[in-house]
Symmetry: C2
Subunit: 229 residues, 2 copies
Amino acid sequence: MIHNYKSEDKVLVAVDCIIFGFDDEELKLLLIKRDFEPEKGQWSLMGGFLKKDENLDQAANRILYHLTGINDIYLEQLYNFSKIDRDPVTRTVSVSYFALINISEHDTKLTANYSAKWFSFKDIPPLIFDHDKMVKHASRRLLYRASTGPIGFELLPEKFTMRQLQKLYEAILGEKLDKRNFINKINSFDILIKLEEKDMSSSRKGSFLYKFDQEKYQKKKAEGFSFKF
Amino acid sequence: MIHNYKSEDKVLVAVDCIIFGFDDEELKLLLIKRDFEPEKGQWSLMGGFLKKDENLDQAANRILYHLTGINDIYLEQLYNFSKIDRDPVTRTVSVSYFALINISEHDTKLTANYSAKWFSFKDIPPLIFDHDKMVKHASRRLLYRASTGPIGFELLPEKFTMRQLQKLYEAILGEKLDKRNFINKINSFDILIKLEEKDMSSSRKGSFLYKFDQEKYQKKKAEGFSFKF
DNA sequence: CCAAAAGTGTTTATGATACACCCATGA
DNA sequence: TCATGGGTGTATCATAAACACTTTTGG
């Protein structure tokens, strides 16, 4: 006997993207104004539906690109939300994805061509459906990511100062860190390249710029080096 | 304009359950012999399809109960597998769930009434579809769970010896642990109750039995105590 | 010359690891 | 009495945390 797949219920599978950014001061969340019913005009995560001819990762990338123009970033699968009436119109199961991006590289395009906007966590507007739960879940995952490996790669510009990196960690961990201990810790990872160049915008003295050494990082990771923060 | 939900593709959503057990010596995996095509007669995780009137957690519990009689355990959502042709018959997205259970409490029922069987990790048979990937993913999650909180609750009988608990951790972590350091660590958590009673089956001297103190554990957890192993 | 941020090491405390002997009992 | 597993504590090492002053330079 062949199992009768046809007798089984099919459901709509949605994908919702939680995108975190950092602007040198605080963590931000990318939202769009929904342009269709239900909940038209409300703020929402970037969402859409899985199509027959793509897997979930592909759907997440397509949906994010379509709604924000953001492309070629690493989206990580997070969790499913499947409460029966979570979408008032029809039964959907939503798969959440999250990613970290560098605001400065994406901001102009976003505000010019899309209805997407960055929000501080202090003033996130009410979100549709269960999107607030998704954001909470993603925040926990971000915290976990930050404590198990370096995260600056995606969130900071290519060249950055120690101060910027520290502010990023402080924003994610939600606590002030000691400057010297922070630098010692980061240096112990040995995955930064100190440049000759200084950033003169933040002080009279100027502060050295650094770059991530992707190669060294990949090598250390492959060797099982622990980047526990 | 109302978004046309009807134009979107619907897909079958499967749920597959990865169940770990422990038998005082090693970690085991519960599998069933598939009794329908495709892949009839092959070993497989416990799987089924999400129905319209249930959420994913409910589906996982229903499916596991139906196939094994196992009930009232905590199933944790793991990850989605969505490769387009992962199921050769029709497009499905599979949501994996995992759980830990105490073999001795479930074994007789299982072998008597169901075609489910426990396998050592050493000799897991070839599995259908992408179930081997699911198992790998679940093993990583188990390792993570073991390093962030106590795991004996579900995997051991109500009363157990320190030796049993240590063997469990050794099985999960995949390494031998020092007896004294292990006990010191566990005692530092302060969530066990030492009973008067001794287990005489393993040695002439006998070894004291312990119970988990659920109340103390919940209280400590609520206070943010870190059970990092 | 002073305000404002950058840069730099050492001491202390805490937790992790390594390690070896006596105990109780049934056969 | 002896073989078997059970039970116990300390010293050392490594990592984390606390902590304050000097440097640079534009205004």
